[in-house]
């Protein structure tokens, strides 16, 4: 049986590139990031070329994405988050396309690497924290002091709140990474069962693989949505400070 983890291996493509002491070679991961980004860019640029009052089907698709994200932001973070709309849209589309492209056979799932999701989550975490401090100054620290807590319990509650706050990038990144990795590993495992059980016993795992593929497409969308909406929620905490 083929190793189900082999699909996550990062392989260098082309020559080794180094900047300073760091190895920044072009890998299959970079290739799929590039594919994702160029696909999104081409898709969006083509579909928004003609601005007709009654949209064509393609234009409708990109507008659908726009309005989906707009609604998400409006419902969670309110009107103050309007300047961050392009970022949330980029984030949502990037994660969604990475997940979806990863569903194609022989492709590489960028978001199945903890370091990628963690980098994104950390960037969001740092950004949100900076926004919070810029907006509220040191008043942002009130986020860690919930109202209506007795003074004696306050230190421990503050510690808990700080840990909870610090665990945000971890849970955000681990959730996406674990979902993507789990799904792909399972697909691979069942695919391997189909081959090893052969024509006689392979039908059951094959059916399972098919069902799992459907579920994985749902999960791919759901995880992109969750990633974006949690970003919105964190942004909301930073913009509208109330606890």
């Amino acid at each position: 049986m083929a190793n189900p983890m082999k699909q996550f291996e990062v392989k260098t493509i082309g020559p080794k590139i180094e900047i300073g002491n760091f190895d920044v070679s072009f890998t299959n991961s970079s290739l799929f990031m590039l594919i994702t980004v160029s696909l999104i860019s081409i898709f969006l640029i083509i579909t928004t070329q003609k601005k007709s009052l009654v949209p064509s089907r393609l234009q409708l698709l990109s507008e659908l994405a726009y309005q989906f994200v707009a609604k998400m932001i409006a419902e969670t973070a309110g009107s103050k988050a309007r300047p961050f709309f392009p970022f949330i849209l980029t984030l949502f589309l990037f994660v969604l396309f990475c997940n979806m492209i990863g569903m194609l056979p022989y492709s590489f799932t960028v978001t199945s690497h903890i370091i990628v999701t963690f980098a994104l989550a950390t960037f969001i975490f740092i950004g949100v924290t900076i926004i919070g401090f810029v907006k509220h100054g040191f008043g942002y620290l009130k986020l860690f002091v919930p109202s209506g807590v007795p003074i004696i319990l306050l230190p421990i509650i503050v510690v808990i709140e700080v840990i909870s706050y610090l665990s945000r990038p971890v849970s955000l990144s681990v959730r996406l990474f674990a979902n993507m990795m789990a799904g792909h590993t399972m697909l691979k495992v069942f695919g391997g069962f189909v081959i090893s059980l052969g024509f006689v016993g392979g039908w059951l795992p094959l059916g399972f693989s098919v069902a799992l593929t459907g579920l994985e497409i749902l999960v791919a969308f759901l995880q992109a949505y969750v990633f974006a909406i949690l970003t919105c929620i964190y942004l909301n905490d930073a913009l509208n400070l109330h606890h």
Partner: protein, 190 residues
């Protein structure tokens, strides 16, 4: 139950796989290039979306929203207008109904008055005519006796003349007899 089985299969397969190769995700050698390329590609996408796509989309969507809200406003205005017109129409119908009612009542009253007047006039005329007729009848009645008397007298005189008893003609006796006869007959008539 199914979920638990799937989870178990998953965990065991991942564990066995990790034992043989380990998770490639945890290899620090692959981290730096991934972060590097992630930053490049993501910023590229962000720039494209924020500089090109976002203005385009927001413009076209805002435009459409404006257009739609314009249409909604217009529709609201039109509904208001139609409602007003409806009200006016209702009022008109009500008023004209009332007016018609009034006109009918007035006309009826007028007709009644006219009718009564005409009737009274007619009644008067009829009574006048009857009174005249009655008077005439009375007069006739009155005169007729005298005339009858005269006629009777002349007839008797003629008769007596024919009978040629000219000498014996006594006007007084004749009148007296006629008077008696008349009294008898007229008394019978009356």
């Amino acid at each position: 139950m199914l979920r638990a089985t799937i989870f178990f299969i998953y965990v065991s397969s991942v564990a066995s796989a990790s034992e043989t190769v380990g998770m490639p995700q945890l290899d620090p050698k692959s981290w730096v290039p991934q972060i590097f390329w992630l930053i490049i590609t993501f910023s590229f996408l962000y720039i494209i979306i924020s500089k090109i796509i976002f203005p385009r989309l927001s413009e076209s969507i805002e435009q459409r929203n404006d257009y739609i809200s314009d249409l909604i406003d217009e529709a609201k205005k039109l509904t208001e207008q139609t409602e007003n017109l409806n009200k006016q129409y209702d009022n008109l119908i009500k008023n004209s109904n009332n007016q018609a009612q009034e006109i009918i009542i007035n006309d009826r009253r007028k007709i009644n008055i006219e009718f009564n007047k005409k009737q009274n006039l007619l009644n008067d005329k009829i009574s006048n005519i009857t009174m005249k007729a009655e008077e005439e009848i009375k007069n006739f009645h009155h005169n007729s006796i005298g005339q009858i008397k005269i006629i009777a007298k002349s007839i008797t005189e003629e008769l007596l003349k024919e009978l040629s008893i000219k000498k014996m003609i006594d006007h007084k006796i004749i009148s007296k007899n006629i008077e008696e006869i008349c009294k008898k007959s007229i008394g019978n008539i009356n």
